[in-house]
């Protein structure tokens, strides 16, 4: 009988993490940032049809970077979980925290038990009734959940982008400022991004029941122009 080679568990986990991180680093990054009326999500995404940012529920948005089919599967699972919970209990009982925990469970399970980890990083954002209630949950490929307060960066080169965000973020900024700052952070000093290269959506407190809204290319261009 053939015995499989012994591989230390540390090595297995490290290999999987490296694999996932490499996959994520190949894709383009995404920034979520708070502004006075809610949360703006800005992604570098040349495609007009394959979305990285989408609506989950009345006050909750989803964003993912990495492998498209994998985060899209997670997005649909989130929409289902949220709609089921809202139907079973009440629309007020659907919250980002429990959704983020669900995602962490799924990703953690896949990371430890499946052959291949998911090459994704996802964000669950919830806009509060007031600015105090805004929440950003950043979830990694292995199920690690991070709760961010002001802004968060997903994807390759996150550290450099996060550094640039840290320098420019201001509490209570206008939407156009938030979009400009996120775009500059994404592009870095050596390139410039136009509305065509971006996918921008907002969770706005003043948008009625469904807070999620996509900004058209024209609206993004106007925000970038100031």
């Amino acid at each position: 009988m053939n015995m499989p080679f012994y591989v230390a568990p540390e090595q297995v986990m490290k290999d999987r993490a490296d694999y996932a991180r490499k996959g994520i680093a190949r894709g383009r990054a995404l920034v979520a940032v708070r502004y006075v009326d809610g949360i703006a999500l800005v992604a570098e995404n040349p495609s007009n049809t394959l979305r990285k940012i989408s609506e989950i529920y009345d006050r909750i948005a989803f964003a993912g970077v990495g492998k498209y089919n994998e985060f899209d599967q997670l997005r649909v699972a989130g929409v289902r979980a949220a709609d089921l919970k809202g139907y079973q209990y009440s629309r007020d009982d659907v919250d980002a925290r429990s959704l983020a925990n669900n995602y962490a469970q799924i990703l953690g399970q896949i990371f430890t038990h499946e052959m291949k980890p998911m090459e994704v990083e996802i964000l669950v954002a919830e806009v509060g009734v007031t600015g105090e209630g805004d929440q950003l949950f950043h979830i990694l490929y292995d199920g690690t959940v991070m709760d961010e307060r002001r802004y968060t960066v997903l994807g390759g080169d996150a550290e450099a982008i996060g550094g640039r965000m840290k320098d420019t973020f201001a509490e209570g900024q206008a939407l156009s400022d938030a979009v400009q700052e996120a775009t500059k952070a994404l592009s870095g000093p050596d390139r410039s991004l136009t509305a065509d290269d971006l996918e921008v959506a907002i969770l706005s407190r003043s948008n009625g029941r469904r807070c999620f809204r996509r900004l058209s290319d024209e609206a993004v261009a106007a925000a970038l122009a100031g």
């Binding site: 989408s54 609506e55 649909v76 929409v79 289902r80 709609d83 089921l84 139907y87 079973q88 799924i106």
Partner: protein, 258 residues
């Protein structure tokens, strides 16, 4: 997450079945002594920019008024609305499920269903209610909306078996449908203005309330007015009560002068 073979796709009712949340169907005859609230008259008509939907606010249990403020005309999604007549409990549940299905589809697929698709979806739900309808819990909705692809307003009416019929000009349902329908039939013209169409819809409910005991008229004492909404290319807009006060004062003046 579901395996590919068991995936419910973008259908919310199918998702409910997969997770075992389908509501239990009643069995046996619903006795006459078990009276439940019934919702009554609703109308919808086309006008120049789209459609108008209107419904009175009364729900009755037998000869009693069980609710004075029930809203039978509700928004289904941005560009459509649904009006219900029949057993209030199952009807409300159906509307809730219908709204959820439209939103669920839109979120999963990334784009809204076509108006035709929405109408077919509702048809399937009405058909699903057939066993309950056999026991007396009949639900017959009107579906109306603005078709963005054809750029016009459209009306659909249903029968208990889920049969779907598109109406060209106007439609009325519920216990007061005969009176309300006749009023609209007399006053309907092609390309009515918004104000004229609102006045006609309000007038039809007034006449239905005048002749049908299960239909409620405007309740000035309590400040309860029918639900009237327009659906145009800009979406669903419910009329404010302050506007309806004016419309009904005009009608009352006309009736007094007769």
């Amino acid at each position: 997450m579901f395996t590919p073979g068991a995936d419910p796709g973008s259908s919310f009712p199918e998702l409910l079945r997969r997770v075992g949340l389908t509501p239990a169907t009643t069995s046996g005859e619903v006795g006459a002594e078990l009276s439940m609230p019934h919702a009554t008259t609703c109308v919808a008509l086309r006008f120049g920019d789209g459609v108008i939907m209107a419904g009175d606010r009364r729900a009755t249990s037998g000869n009693l008024i069980s609710h004075r403020g029930m809203e039978k005309v509700v928004q289904a999604d941005l560009h459509s609305g649904v009006a219900i007549a029949g057993a209030a409990g199952p009807a409300m549940e159906m509307v809730k499920l219908f709204q959820l299905q439209l939103e669920h589809y839109e979120k999963v697929e990334g784009s809204a269903l076509s108006l035709e698709g929405k109408a077919n979806q509702l048809s399937m739900m009405v058909r699903g209610n057939l066993p309950a309808a056999m026991q007396g819990m009949v639900v017959v909705p009107i579906f109306a909306g603005y078709d963005l692809r054809r750029a016009n307003g459209r009306l659909f009416t249903y029968d208990v078996t889920g049969g779907r019929y598109e109406e060209h000009d106007y439609v009325a349902t519920g216990s007061g449908m005969l009176h309300a329908g006749t009023v609209i039939k007399m006053g309907w013209r092609d390309n009515l203005t918004r104000d004229a169409a609102v006045a006609l819809a309000c007038r039809s409910l007034w006449e239905a309330a005048d002749a049908d005991s299960a239909t409620g008229g405007p309740d000035v004492l309590r400040g309860i007015y029918p639900v009237v909404a327009t659906i145009t290319a800009d979406g669903w807009a419910r009329l404010d009560d302050s506007e309806l006060v004016g419309v009904y004062e005009t009608i009352a003046t006309e009736v007094r002068a007769r």
